[in-house]
């Protein structure tokens, strides 16, 4: 799960630095992810894991780190 999430962040998060340099709890927004890039990331995650994030989950704190994203996906029953 975490590895796939990292790959999608690498492809869509448009971070200025290397995703692998960040640990699972590092703040992606502080690492330079823009809100626009975060929307693209959400769309990519929905497509890759075949899930839909409900509105209550569509907020910054859910997409803040590799771990928070993985936790959200697991809570939606996404398969690793």
């Amino acid at each position: 799960m975490v590895d796939r999430v990292r790959q999608i962040i690498r492809d869509y998060g448009r971070l200025p630095g290397d995703v692998d340099a960040l640990d699972d709890d590092a703040d992606l927004y502080q690492a330079g992810m823009t809100s626009h890039a975060s929307v693209n990331l959400m769309l990519a995650l929905e497509a890759a894991f075949d899930i839909e994030f409900p509105d209550a989950m569509l907020k910054r704190s859910v997409f803040q780190s590799v771990r928070s994203i993985s936790d959200a996906l697991e809570s939606l029953g996404a398969a690793a």
Partner: protein, 390 residues
């Protein structure tokens, strides 16, 4: 509870009196001369209005947020610039109150805000960010001994030269990404403002909002503990849109009232000739009613979430909701003002009749520029791709 409501009512009565007796008679001169509405601000200070939202235990009036929204509307009806200065100040105070989180410097600051009725301005926009308030170039720069400095190029600072304190968005440190922002509150004696250019705008002239290079040196405990990325969606953005929209509704309501007074005066003795104007007035009432409905529901939606469900304020659906309030109100208010001109004709076009609506049109035209509507549409376009139930 009844006592608290009485206090809110008494405050609103005082605001209406200030609006009628001080803001209204000065409004044309404030507009013509692009002069800061000092008389109105003096009267507001005397009422303790600048700390109206501060809880009683900190010495403030402890009024409800909806009372401040109503007060903004009342001031806006009489003088758009006075209403805007009041609104902008209350936005900063309301935001601070929701995020001070017991930080000692800010707790102490609240006492000074109450005692000295200090006027707070914001420095959020910045040259080079393309109007995106969620990004900063200027940064908090460590200066040793728990002190720091910043220098920010602001294209506009509302009533900057008249503010006692400035609330400024900055990058957290010189290495931080543009979106990693904090809010810093600096006092006048810690800040220098170098004005860039002149102030001779189309409307909202009394807000006196030229560009400034802002420089400050301050202790680091004046950095708000909560990051701006949390403060913006949970407080500053929805509060801004709710209070601005009340102001624009106030200005548009006065334009409508002037059109109605004109029709009434015209109908005296010759009601049949006034008939076409009266029908136009009826159309205008529909436009005003739409604006009032959107502004009222925006306030209700904010109040529903403000204290109980902060988390939901940061969801995309809620961000879209308050963006829409801003878009709708900022487009509808100038429409109503211009519609009033359609009713009053040349008499409203003249700047020196009781039915003049030129100031209303010009003031409300600023609405779509304050956080540019096209930028908000750009954000919405992106959020709409992923938000579900909007």
């Amino acid at each position: 509870m009844a006592i608290a409501v009485d206090r809110d009512q008494a405050f609103l009565e005082a605001i209406r009196r200030i609006a009628d007796e001080i803001a209204a008679p000065n409004a044309d001169a404030v507009d013509r001369e692009a002069r800061f509405p000092s008389d109105t601000l003096d009267a507001l200070r005397a009422e303790g209005a600048l700390s109206a939202l501060v809880p009683v235990e900190h010495g403030g009036l402890g009024l409800r947020f909806e009372t401040i929204a109503d007060a903004t509307f009342e001031l806006g009806r009489r003088c758009g610039a006075s209403g805007m200065v009041f609104a902008m100040h209350q936005i900063q105070v309301a935001t601070l109150l929701r995020h001070v989180d017991g930080a000692p410097w800010f707790q102490a600051y609240l006492r000074d805000l109450v005692g000295e009725q200090r006027l707070v301005a914001s420095v959020t926009s910045e040259i080079g960010t393309g109007g995106d308030l969620g990004r900063s170039i200027a940064a908090v720069t460590p200066a040793g001994d728990d002190r720091a400095t910043f220098e920010k190029q602001a294209p506009t600072v509302s009533y900057g030269a008249y503010a006692d304190d400035l609330l400024t968005t900055l990058r957290r440190d010189p290495d931080a990404e543009p979106g990693d922002q904090v809010l810093v509150l600096t006092r006048r004696d810690q800040t220098t403002l170098e004005q860039n250019g002149t102030w001779d705008p189309l409307g909202m002239r009394g807000t006196c909002s030229p560009g400034f290079t802002v420089r400050a040196e301050f202790p680091t405990d004046q950095i708000l503990p909560t990051p701006f990325s949390t403060v913006a969606p949970e407080s500053m953005v929805p509060i801004t849109h709710v209070l601005w929209s009340h102001l624009w509704l106030g200005i548009a309501t006065d334009a409508f009232d002037r059109a109605r007074a004109f029709v009434k005066a015209s109908a005296k003795g010759r009601p049949e000739t006034a008939q076409p104007m009266a029908i136009r007035l009826s159309h205008l009432m529909s436009d005003l009613a739409l604006l009032r409905a959107e502004v009222g529901s925006g306030l209700r939606d904010y109040l529903e979430l403000a204290d109980t469900d902060r988390e939901r304020l940061s969801t995309m659906a809620t961000i879209l909701r308050f963006n829409n309030l801003k878009l709708a109100a900022s487009e509808q208010a100038p429409r109503v003002s211009q519609g009033a001109l359609g009713v009053t004709g040349i008499v409203g076009f003249k700047n020196d009749t009781p039915f003049s609506v030129g100031r209303h049109i010009r003031d409300t035209m600023s609405a779509s520029l304050m956080i540019a509507n096209e930028r908000i549409h750009q954000t919405n376009a992106s959020l709409l791709l992923i938000a579900k139930d909007v």
